[in-house]
């Protein structure tokens, strides 16, 4: 008898285990289709009780792990919840370099956010996957967005609808190390292409063995320079970036594209005022005082303030050529497609709050990113600020390239510069290849979109 008992325990244990495993598996699959049903039934039964009051809703906000932003959002959530007692907002964060990965793996598992913070360059990918819904037109009318926000925000307009809306935007500008400029007795900041070359030459310092001690201009194509090329140099030289319908790369349509590419490369190969990998990257070199000039974004103000408070530096608008143009970018909040009903209402409410004037101002103070709405940004207190002013003044001439795939487009650009630097490929050939390969990315993207 004892033995049979053992047998039955073992067998039933096995059975339970099998059930548990298969049960889990099928649960996961059916989660997405079936879960709305039970909530719908409970909703109707509860509806009678809570018909008068607004129902309690919990929404989830996802953004990447950037300590200052996480803290500010927590503060804002408390404020928002006191204004809307029936809404609870939960914040979830993922490290920047795993962000897409986490989103992509958690969402199919049925653990999606109700509002998600995305880099604008990722939007096309998210939209073409059918992951996002257009912002509700009643809360965010297209016309209003277009009159109140800086035009660069139109990068979030896909197929005629806005899929995301930013609280803040960023532009690039010329950072300069005041001590190093004084040492080289430079009193005037460069405002043209030529002056930038001359100034960076004067600021460059090498040792007896020909190695850099100080870079005149930090040179890191994979950091901000590829943005500088697309949204700055090409336009400044009289060229264009993308066709109106966002299908064709126009760099090679006029001589401007190559001229700009050559100009950017010449800093490393002809003038030798900077090189990639010096102190790992451009911002390290600049923040540690080993680069006199650097092209970097307004988001760097925060990290300099935090980690290199003693750095004596200033900010100037980017030098220009035939016209002015400055690269810009933004992180924007979007609503996933599966958010509906009360959650959707709560999500738009929170999104409205996040784009309010007060929040935009807090964002500037605590994060250092610029207000996305013209009326907020152009207040005297910002325009006249020594550090913020140059960034804000460029907003009118700023552009945000419509990325099909930011990582791949960046890699192609870096590869093109490496072909010249490491393999002695002629600049014009590297350029032609770059245009062709980038165009192919666009062709593939649009082919997939058109198929749907």
């Amino acid at each position: 008898m004892m033995k049979t008992n053992k047998w039955t325990t073992t067998l039933s244990g096995l059975l339970i285990l099998t059930l548990a495993i298969t049960g889990c598996g099928s649960n996961n699959n059916s989660n997405q289709q079936e879960s709305p049903k039970p909530t719908a039934t409970t909703d109707t039964s509860k509806a009678t009780e809570t018909a008068d009051n607004e129902k309690d809703v919990t929404i989830e906000y996802w953004q990447y792990e950037f300590p200052a932003k996480v803290d500010l959002i927590n503060e804002l959530i408390t404020e928002f919840q006191s204004l809307h007692p029936h809404i609870t907002v939960k914040q979830t964060n993922f490290p920047y370099d795993q962000y897409n990965q986490k989103v992509a793996t958690l969402v199919p598992a049925g653990k999606g956010p109700d509002i998600i913070n995305l880099y604008y360059g990722w939007l096309p990918k998210y939209v073409s996957s059918g992951y996002l819904q257009p912002l509700p037109e009643d809360s965010f009318p297209t016309a209003e967005i277009e009159s109140n926000y800086y035009p660069l925000v139109s990068a979030a307009k896909i197929d005629g609808s806005y899929y995301a809306i930013p609280t803040a935007v960023r532009t690039l500008a010329l950072f300069y190390n005041k001590d190093l400029l004084n040492k080289a007795q430079i009193t005037e900041l460069p405002t043209t292409w030529e002056q930038l070359v001359e100034t960076s030459k004067k600021l460059t310092e090498t040792d007896a063995k020909g190695q850099f001690v100080t870079e005149g201009l930090a040179w890191e194509p994979g950091a901000q320079l590829h943005h500088w090329y697309r949204d700055g140099l090409v336009h400044q030289a009289g060229g264009q970036d993308l066709s109106e319908d966002r299908r064709k790369i126009l760099w090679a349509e006029t001589p401007a594209g190559l001229e700009a590419f050559q100009y950017l490369l010449d800093f490393a190969i002809k003038h030798k005022v900077g090189i990639n990998g010096f102190y790992e990257n451009d911002s390290n070199a600049f923040m540690t005082g080993h680069a006199a000039l650097n092209i970097d974004g307004s988001f760097r103000l925060g990290s300099i303030k935090k980690d290199f408070a003693d750095l004596n530096f200033g900010v100037a608008p980017l030098p220009s050529y035939k016209s002015k143009s400055a690269p810009s970018s933004f992180w924007a909040n979007a609503i996933p497609k599966n958010v509906e009903g009360d959650k959707l209402k709560a999500a738009s409410e929170f999104l409205k709050f996040l784009t309010s004037k007060e929040v935009q101002e807090k964002w500037v103070d605590q994060i250092g990113e610029l207000p996305a709405q013209k009326a907020v940004a152009t207040q005297d207190k910002y325009v006249n600020d020594e550090k913020l002013g140059p960034f804000i003044n460029q907003l009118d001439d700023s552009r945000a390239h419509f990325f099909i795939d930011e990582t791949q487009e960046k890699t192609l650009f870096v590869d093109a510069t490496n072909e010249v630097l490491l393999n002695n490929v002629p600049v014009d050939k590297a350029f032609t290849d770059l245009v062709a390969k980038t165009q192919k990315l666009y062709d593939d993207y649009w082919a997939a979109v058109d198929k749907k």
Binding site: K3, T4, K6, W7, T10, L11, L14, L17, T18, I21, G25, Q32, N100, Q101, V103, A104, T105, V107, P108, K125, Y126, S128, S129, G130, Y131, K209, Q211, F212, I275, N276, G277, F278, Y279, E280, D405, T407, Q408, T411, V414, D415, N418, E419, L422, N423
Partner: protein, 310 residues
């Protein structure tokens, strides 16, 4: 009625168990069922995802969307037309060809040296083993700083009057340097395996060989190496598998650059899946990698595993 019937069958089956199964068979049955539990776990957490990856490899799926249309072998043909994937295969084999022999030779050398000392053996063993338990990311970043353009190693070269090198920024040097880092990091593990193997070789063989007048080399060549064969086969198989899956060091030291000179198959799979969201292509690449690892492992077991008479 039904209850009665059930009770009857239950009694019958209990009787059957008693009469038909001897104690021996019952014992075996128990052992196999006990073994079956981990197998079940293995099947559900390992085999199921593998089969699922096979399924995804013939579909077009961009991870965020719900529909996954069947596209046949389109992912595979696109993959083999992809220059970066071709390059990643070549690079992966370079990692294996340099890494596995490198790791075996260095590990064996250290093990042999340590096997012949008694004092400080534990100390050395610990020192050599520390890199293995250090985080890959930390090790990679330390080497990154050493190998930086204006880093420590270039400064040494300049002080010696030599030309500074591009190191990780050079398409010709980067892969070799990453492999050396990986060898450096896994030496401790390899050493430990070989030391265990060496312990298992009976002393008397060496004593007998010494009486016959064999020198150190001949003892090594004719006793140590043949008797270590099972350990070498094991290490080679494990080594090949791990170098075929080179990823962490590459990601944190060069991220596949410059000019894809260090992109490995796994890094490319990672990029396809989580940077470009092309799960179908990524799964197809995974299937290719799976086939390569399986084929190489079987080949190695066949070629390397020679029976040695003790």
């Amino acid at each position: 009625m039904l209850e009665q019937a059930l009770r009857l069958t239950a009694r019958k089956s209990r009787e059957l168990l008693h009469t038909r199964l001897t104690y021996r068979t019952q014992r075996y049955l128990f052992i196999y069922i006990a073994l079956g539990i981990p197998l079940l776990y293995f099947l559900s957490t390992r085999m199921a995802p593998i089969l699922y990856a096979f399924n995804v490899s013939v579909r077009e799926w961009d991870l965020l969307s719900q529909d996954k249309p069947y596209v046949g072998l389109a992912n595979f043909s696109a993959l083999f037309a992809d220059e970066i994937f071709q390059k990643s295969i070549v690079n992966t084999f370079k990692f294996v060809i340099i890494g596995v022999p490198g790791q075996l030779i260095v590990g064996l050398a250290v093990a042999l040296l340590l096997h012949n000392v008694q004092r400080f053996r534990g100390f050395f063993r610990t020192v050599y083993f520390i890199p293995y338990v250090t985080s890959i990311i930390a090790v990679s970043w330390v080497f990154r700083w050493i190998l930086m353009r204006n880093g420590w190693l270039n400064e040494m070269l300049l002080n010696l009057g030599l030309e500074p090198q591009l190191f990780l920024q050079s398409p010709r040097q980067a892969l070799l340097l990453i492999t050396l880092t990986m060898i450096w990091q896994s030496t401790g593990f390899q050493m430990l395996i070989f030391m265990t193997g060496l312990e298992a070789i009976p002393r008397m063989y060496y004593e007998a060989a010494a009486i016959d007048g064999a020198g150190a080399w001949r003892k090594f060549r004719h006793i140590t190496l043949p008797l270590l064969n099972p350990v070498i086969v094991f290490s080679a198989v494990i080594g090949v598998i791990s170098y075929l899956q080179s990823f962490g060091q590459v990601l944190s030291m060069t991220n596949g650059g410059p000019l894809n000179a260090t992109t490995t198959m796994v890094l490319h799979i990672y990029n396809l899946a989580f940077q470009q969201f092309k799960m179908g292509s990524a799964a197809a690449a995974t299937v290719v990698l799976f086939a390569v690892i399986l084929a190489l492992t079987l080949l190695q077991l066949k070629v390397l595993n020679k029976k040695v008479e003790y």
